[in-house]
Symmetry: D2
Subunit: 376 residues, 4 copies
């Protein structure tokens, strides 16, 4: 007859480190290896030990208590070595993570990546580009307080991430924190000391997990899943972020743009403005773009977009800067790294891709205003 | 007998430019000289022409309609030349503004500075240090839409700024926008497209102006007014902001820290963390601090403070970085410029001043937690 | 040849009273007749006197300066008599307003109704039902401070309301306040002392008017405009709001439900709960519903909806209460008044209409959760 | 030598019921007796079983894991019978709870009361008056999702409440929810479906519990602890809430005010306004106050206070209504019940007490505006 029991889904949890698994040491909090999985096994809200034993799961396999949707989320912790404070992560670590995703893509229904909050937005943005043809859910999460502490946000964040990764097909790299699921390439860490650490300033959250988990399907990115999932691991490291400020030295800009620099995110004022009366500055930028250094014009403001409103915005276009829309600096940096690593593309193709919305990282706004509903 | 009529107060309005006084030109919005004062004279909410004529004020003197506090705010527009889009402002312009403040300090009761929103937070921060022994109210304001447009926020912002500058003694450099008065060295522009453009993420507003103007006196900075007001006009321009990101090249950092650079704001992760496993990076920072380049450790996060929590935060202290508390990048940059320009101070004194709260730009948090009220 | 000049649109402004047109009198603020139109004529942001004179408009006709959309909004103030503090408005006043709307419907492109903030949400809700087959924009607005005061929110609110009513076809009764346009039957006054006085807790705003006016067209109600606009003026006044609280006397409930009461909004707890262990209370409610008194179950909570979650919610259904979804008390009251006045409907039809979403006043939530986009 | 070990504190948890301890039954969620303590014993974040066994605690005694403050919070669950959905609670239940507080006051350091969210604000308000000379911390808490569910807010809310009640002396009846501690007589349930269910609209929270627990000591109520704690259990049940709305029938008001009604909260418009042109209505109110029925004038608005601004506000004072400041309806109702039960007070004394701030339930605003700091 029909199997009426709960459906089993499998989630891979890649543990890269982060506060969630840290302990107090002499110099401050630091990660401790081989501790998390054991600790989770003793947390009834994150592991149903009775069910695990009945089902004879291997030691490193955990399983959540039965979910509201009548699913059993079975998960495995894959701990990277060494575990890292996310301040210490590099592009090599991104490659390492993405290769694990590729290696295990077919075996699991969804993925959770444990990560420190300090650079979680950078990794989420990077992975959103590195993952091509993504058709499954990937959720980054972590916490502001270690999961071993009495009061901590780690348990709830991990549980929410597991439930979302295991039960919903949201084919994006997401970030889950404090009851909300965000598009990974849209978030930035806004609060160093609050549980509500992240914000997606230019796009609403993808989901909310309070009394129920409610997904905003109309916001979820629609992906091309006909091609096979693959990861692009070679990100270009010759990138940087330069913040404009009044009186910035042309010499500083020149030094910053020197080889091996291949592309920068220029954090400009307001809607994408920079000095138009600084010949010395504009000259350095022009020389760079002539050398085929990409200059991506993004705003310093938390919310908002680069648009051509002011005469001072025009000066940047004149020297060859590309408008970065409403991208966060993390997403802009990741996009630059990604596209500049595509050695097979020509210069024009790279500039074109930079202006396009590849993974939902940029908002494209319709040009004409509607007067009434009939115009829909 | 007693003069029972309204009290007259005098406010100087220094017009530096900004969107508030811009018109649409070929390349976008740009300032137009000699237009604002004339336009304000025709706006009944900003000028009482009958009273002005009765009182035989000179042409360039305007006066608000009678205020609720029964005061007549008489104001003069001092227009700088050229008027600037604030993207085009430099430290020389800050010197220019502060010299006007010094020149007219005794003649006026309060001051309003019209300014573009793009770098208003930078100027407000800079002036908060450049003004020493300030005993009168200085309010920067502007708008997201020109005051000549049909719907605009300029009228309300200017009116609020005038009323506050003329009627309250708040001895600080403040910023007034969208019904709220902020400490100038605490704000940052957070929204490029909203009327609610500014935020003071680590300090509540100083005042609110809606149905009534209510001042939060307990937050207002208490200044030393026994000494005479003076301005410090020579800011050190050899400063910069460097944002850490995963994989940042040591070569980039080295180039950025080269002479003539004298001090940088290092925008780190979370509560002040940077890679502790990047020997190459830490080496460049150490070499810089050994060369007496100041490295001020501030967080990339909008809200929060640099505190020693993580092992990765310690690595920066070890190479000589100075904790920047919860300062905004604008305030940190201004403080650096100010202190590094004090040629008479020795290196140790400069480092000490950088760690102290000079103008309310940093929050100092008490160390021990209180258990109950008796401990107050 | 083609007339390339601005398009002229006509808006009728029905002035019912409210703080926006009040002056200080002995006992406090009170309306003053025949003052507003004259005062508006002297406000350049609300009246272009040069254009009015050139066009030879009659004295009581005003015209806005040219709008960004190149439209000339010509408006007439129709002042009701007496002007009312909205605390003094009754259902007769609603009838009076709606008859004016009906009388002038064909002559004008859009409508603005000046109104006090105290009962603006009630009037907006009532009119949303009383207006049948609405195909034009109706915007209620007002202010927290009289438009004659130096600092006030009246000018900006009136201007925004005129621009929206004149330039966009939003076929709803709306409420405009502090840069936001709301669905009229979704708002409630949440702040007695702030400019940001209203909230639409269970539906996002219909539009935002800051740098630009942006309409959320996907939220705007799609109306049936094939039939001719008409107003239903006879609202049933035998209605009331009863707030449940712990220990409420059955005698109080009984007295409240006595004839002539025909329908009440029962403000229950949380998601629509009331005591299930109070036989005396439930008996009174049951006797009432048996007498065909309608009991509409709405939540006391600002945000949220009545749903059947708890055993205590079931007890109300058992005695015949009708779930009121996420309606505000103002909307629920107006809906009751409207439906209970339809003498031609039978009891069953009335109950059915009460449960349906007639004017966007209630959110209907889909029952099954979506697992992935394919289910869209 | 010195005992260097953790300090032991004792907290009594009075379980009245509520969603936190509910299970799914036929008609919806309902409480289940004798289940909570057993379940908590199996939750490592709420009970340290090893320590409990080592210390040989009785079965019904639980103990939290060691806190950051090096304290051991030992707590006992006192389960009332029957456990109640808070919709079913009455003033008798308040008396029951307060008698337990009085009975165990000396034996425990702090108190937590588990309660449903539906009427938690009513109970918190009531207890704040019923408890006289309170010198210890009392925290009400609960949850929107049962603690037996996989994802729920109950664990975190209970943990936070225990830590606060056990470690801080906040001599008030408080409410703890979603990381914030509020003054109990200042809260209202604002969201029926979110974890962030409560708001204290007219007073900031007393504490925040995220990375750390931070108490806003300047807001905490300073109590008179020289007298012995006692509870006042006989609340007057002849009270009610009447919401004014346009067109309200004088007959309805008359019926509502009939004996045995002794006092009502009149929910008026805005800053405390009601119709001044409804002679019939004002007559009923006047007749009631002449009969010594108390009419407490509170605003319908979530935020704000009753102040005399409008002519329509004066009409209520004229008929004898007492201004209720910025009290919530829950606090106003509780205060009425409390004062009207004091049979030893004369009419004038009762009216005087109603106007005074007894437990921090009302904000008193200074009359004159300060111009500068010297006026402090």
């Amino acid at each position: 007859g029909d199997y009426k029991g709960p459906v089993q889904v499998r989630v891979l949890v890649i543990n890269t480190g982060g506060t969630i698994g840290m302990v107090e040491e002499e110099k401050g909090l630091a990660p401790e290896a081989n501790k998390l999985a054991k600790a989770l096994k003793k947390m009834p809200m994150l592991h149903d030990d009775v069910y695990a034993k009945e089902s004879r799961f291997p030691d490193e396999t955990l399983v959540l208590p039965l979910s509201k949707q009548n699913k059993r989320i079975i998960y495995t912790i894959l701990e990277l070595s060494p575990l890292l404070d996310s301040s210490n992560m590099t592009t090599d670590d991104w490659a390492k993570i993405s290769k694990k995703l590729e290696q295990y893509y077919e075996q699991y229904d969804g993925f959770v990546i444990l990560h420190g909050t300090d650079t979680m937005a950078y990794t989420a943005s990077a992975l959103s580009f590195m993952c091509e043809n993504l058709g499954k859910t990937i959720v980054l999460t972590g916490s502001q307080v270690p999961i071993y502490e009495l009061r901590n946000d780690g348990r709830a964040n991990l549980l929410g991430a597991l439930l979302i990764a295991g039960q919903f097909v949201i084919p994006e790299v997401c970030l889950y924190f404090y009851n909300k699921l965000y598009r990974g390439n849209r978030v930035t860490k806004v609060d160093a000391g609050s549980f509500d650490a992240f914000s997606s300033p230019n796009l609403p959250p993808l989901a909310n997990a309070e009394v129920d988990i409610t997904i905003n399907w109309e916001t979820v990115w629609r992906a091309d899943t006909t091609q096979k999932f693959r990861v692009h691991t070679t990100m270009n490291g010759n990138v940087g972020v330069l913040r404009i400020f009044p009186g910035i030295n042309a010499a500083t800009v020149k030094a910053f743009l020197q080889p091996p620099m291949e592309g920068i995110v220029l954090e400009t004022y307001g809607t994408g403005n920079a000095p138009s009366n600084r010949e010395d500055l504009l000259l350095e930028l022009k020389k760079a773009t002539e050398r085929k250094v990409v200059i991506l014009n993004c705003t310093q403001c938390l919310r908002g977009s680069v648009v051509a409103v002011y005469e001072t915005g025009q000066s940047l276009s004149d020297v060859g800067a590309i408008p970065g829309g409403d991208m966060t600096p993390e997403a802009a940096l990741a996009k630059l790294s990604y596209i500049l690593s595509k050695r097979d593309l020509c210069w024009e193709e790279k500039k074109k891709m930079l202006s396009e919305n590849l993974r939902g990282e940029m908002t494209v706004v319709p040009r004409e205003a509607k007067i009434c509903l009939k115009d829909t």
